[in-house]
Structures are given as C-alpha cells and as structure tokens.
Amino acid sequence: MTEVLRVVDPGLLTTIQDLGRPGAIASGVPPGGAMDRFALRAANLLAGNEPNDASLECTLRGPQLVAERPCVIAITGADFDPRLNGEPQPMWATLSLAAGDALTFGGRRIGARTYIAVGGGLDGESWLGSRSTSLMTGKGGFHGRPLRAGDLLSTVGTRTTYPAERRELVPGLRPDYSDQSLAAVAGPHVRRLEPESRRALFSATFTVSPESDRMGCRLKGPGLQAKAEELLSYGLVAGAVQLPQSGQPILLMADHQTAGGYPVVATVVSASMPRAAQLAPGDELRFMEVTQAMARQRRLALSSALASLSAL
C-alpha cells in the first residue's frame, strides 16, 4: 500500500469505483460500480492497470489533488478541463505526475462524470468482491463514503512510475458525449403503453431532472400513459426505463434498486450506457429504438476501441 494522492478539495461528489459487484444483486445489493464503464476501463488501461481496477469517479465538479509521490494517471469521461499545476492537460492519455504536482479542474465543458485512474490501481475497502463505494450502505471504497478534504489515497500496487511510452485513445474512438440519442430496445411491458405514449417514448425529447443520481436518471417529458395494473415484482437491470404512475420515466443506473414492480417500457442498450452516465441535470435526450443486431454492432465498436489500448 502506497500513499499517492492527497485530497485538497473533493469536488462535488468523488467516489472510488471499479466495475461493481454484479454477483450481489441476487441478495438485493445494487451492482454499483462506475456509471461510465467505458471511461473507467479506458482510464485504467491508459494508466497501465487492469480494466476492473478501482479509480475515482468525479461528478459535475472535479477535485483538487496533490501527488504525494511520482505517479502515472489517466483522465477520461466528462471533460472538466483538467490541469496540472495550472497547465491544461489532454484527456484519454497517460499523464506523469511528480511529487508535489497539483491536479485541478477548470470547470465542466461536457458530460457529468470524469474518471481518474492511478497507476497501480486505487486501494479501498473491498466489499462483496468490489472496491466500489456503495453510498446507500456506506460500504466499500474509501470508508464507504465520498472523498473529503485531507483524505490520503493509496494504490494497491507499489508501481508508481510508468512506462516510457505515453498512451492515448485516438480521438475517433472516444465516445461522443454530445449525442442526444440513447439506443434502446422496447421493454417487456411496452404493450401496456397507450398508442400515443408508445410513439412518444421513441420520439419525444426528455429532460434530465436535478433529482437524478447514481441510482437513476429521472426524466421529465410528455407524461406517458400506461395501464395501471400492478405487476409482480421482478429483477431489474441498469438501463431499464421504469414507468411509475406519475408517467415520468426513470432510467435505472449503476446503484439501481434490484427489484421492483413498475412497468419497464424500454431498456437502453449496453453501448449507450456510457453516454447515459454522462447526462447532467438539464440535458436533453431521446430514446432511439434499435434492433439487437444494431446493439451488437455498437457494443463491438466499444470493445474494439478498448482492445486498441490493451494491444499497446
């Protein structure tokens, strides 16, 4: 265990996340993990880590960190204008920090969550097989809570300096976080929608409400009308678009409730979840209905972008 970064200012909500604890859903524990899993994997690969290593997820406003010793980092996901000792730095690339270097962020330009991977992988409490911070239960990550000023972050490995070569994800392979459309397939209960609501689901513009969080993205749009009849509760997945009686859909995200009884009218496909993770309050979006084949194509495109990093 090596202390590598000191938190000067934690930002708005900065937590330790990896790829979560998918095995825990059968016990009612949210899977958790990074909201934008593409950005987390890319950051880790750029920092010379395993894709599932623990990194920082910073929400809407970046932290201020100081290097306690030389280290290698990579910043991916939302663009918060990263700076090293005041100098603008590239994203989606390997960065080297010397002891005493200050990492700050100028301000949010696009997206909602930026990821900072540190060479060696961040340490943290491992709970049910994951170092991800579970805010609901106060378990995992940095004492089960968001970072605070004064916290000292450690890496698991002792490797602090890195590779001679600087890695970068070429711009053409980075996700387009300005894209307003989320690819989705019709959900199990789409037939419960009134015909007009069914049309609106895949054509109307929805706005992300400020009550959105890591559990779900609450949307405001044309009220969708569905048959009111209650369903027997069943297991839910991230990406599911739930329709409560209010008619305003909720897109379930990483810390989603594991079971529920509201109709699921659509499910955002895996390749569009990184984009969904970057939605900020006030952003607009549309659901675009896709086939399984189209979903597969998009998924493979993301896999090959990551493979381009592993192959380096």
């Binding site: 998918p22 009612g28 239960t137 499910t267």
Partner: protein, 219 residues
C-alpha cells in the same frame, strides 16, 4: 392438479442486449415462485449466464453477449423451464417479534374495518414465504398476506420510512431494512437486523425461506 403445458409456456423479453426477463406467469403463487427459484439456480450454472435473479414468477437473466445470443439462451430457458422442478428444499424458518404500533395502524384499521387487535391476529397467523429478495439490501417480499388485510399502496409514498418498519401492501408484507422511501402501510416495527453487511450473502432472508411474525410487548 398439474397444469396443462400450454399454461406453463415461458415468455422471453429482452432487457437491452445483455439481459432478458423470462416470465413464467402472472399470479402470486408459491408453485410458480418455486419454479422461478429453481430455474434461476439452474441458469446460474451456465457459463454464458453471469447472474440469474428469481422474481415472484419470473427470472431476470444477465448473460454474456460474447458467448450467447438472446435467441439461443431464450430457447435453452424454454427447454429448462418445462422440466419438472426438483423437490424444493424447505427454506429456513425465521420467527420475528413485532411491536404492532405502526403510524398507519389507525388508518389501516379504518380502511379494513378491523380493530388493531384483529389486524395483529391476522398478520401473525400465516407462515409467510420469502418470494424474493431485492429492492434495497435486506428487503424481502413476503406473502401471501391474508385477503382480509389487502389494501392498495398509499397514494403518496413516504420519502422516509424508518428502518425496522413492518408494512403491508396488496397481498404482500415486509420489513424495511433501512431508511428508504416507501409506499406501503406501516403497521409495526421490528428490531431484527435484516441487512448484514459483514455476511455473505449480506441479508438474513433468502428466497424460499419462511417467516412467522409474533406480537411482542411494547419496549
């Protein structure tokens, strides 16, 4: 009496491109739930399945899209689902003390036209089944609740239900393991810990377990 095969048909619905929902039926029914739990545990043994979670009468299956497709896994599930389920192992029996002084007791008593005493007698009568574990850590959906206690959910859900609240809604009952929002009617409270963060699995109740409530004296 065994059901004809036609009723047992499983419907497969995609949940995006990496999960599906296999629906066995639409009734709150112990036999259907036993089949769902059996199907989920059979599916968890497959290499192309990452996780399978039984609902009341369904299974949510997370699969590896590099190893299978929706169509081929769906066909495999249909084959598995018509197999005669193994004799289920009887779940563990939990005896849970409840203080029946919930804030909704007067309202529930009015709506059902039953005295609080009758409500307690009815609520403590059955041995409930744990139909599924989920929603929030430690929560378990228990039932079936006696018909006499059936009420729709509260029109306006509470933003904060205190941990330990014993609640009813529809033909279901349950205990809130932590402070969360909720729309069920609060009839009592229990001090039994349901979320066990330092155990694996981190919850007291498991699908298929049985639960008997008994009235405890005011503390």
């Amino acid at each position: 009496m065994p059901q004809p095969r036609s009723i047992q048909r499983v419907r497969i619905h995609p949940l995006g491109d990496t999960a599906l929902l296999a629906v066995l039926g639409s009734r709150l029914d112990t036999a259907l739930n036993t089949r769902a739990i059996g199907l989920a545990s059979a599916l968890r043994k497959r290499r192309d399945v990452r996780q399978a979670v039984a609902g009341y009468a369904s299974v949510t299956v997370h699969f590896d899209p590099d190893q299978t497709t929706l169509e081929s896994l769906g066909a495999a599930i249909k084959r598995l689902a018509v197999r005669r389920p193994k004799e289920p192992i009887p779940g563990r029996l939990h005896r849970i003390p409840v203080v029946y002084d919930g804030v909704d007791m007067p309202e529930v008593s009015d709506s059902l036209n039953l005295s609080p005493r009758e409500i307690v007698a009815l609520h403590t009568r059955p041995i409930y089944r744990v139909f599924l574990v989920g929603f929030v850590p430690g929560w378990a959906y228990l039932g079936p609740l006696p018909e006499e206690l059936e009420l729709p959910r509260r029109r306006v859900p509470r933003t904060h239900v205190p941990a330990g609240s014993v609640a009813i809604a529809g033909r279901q009952t349950g205990i809130y393991p932590m402070q969360v929002p909720g729309g069920w009617h609060l009839i009592g409270r229990s001090s039994v810990k349901l979320f066990l963060p330092n155990s694996d699995p981190p919850c007291l109740f498991r699908a298929g377990d049985r639960v008997k409530f008994f009235a405890a004296a005011l503390d």
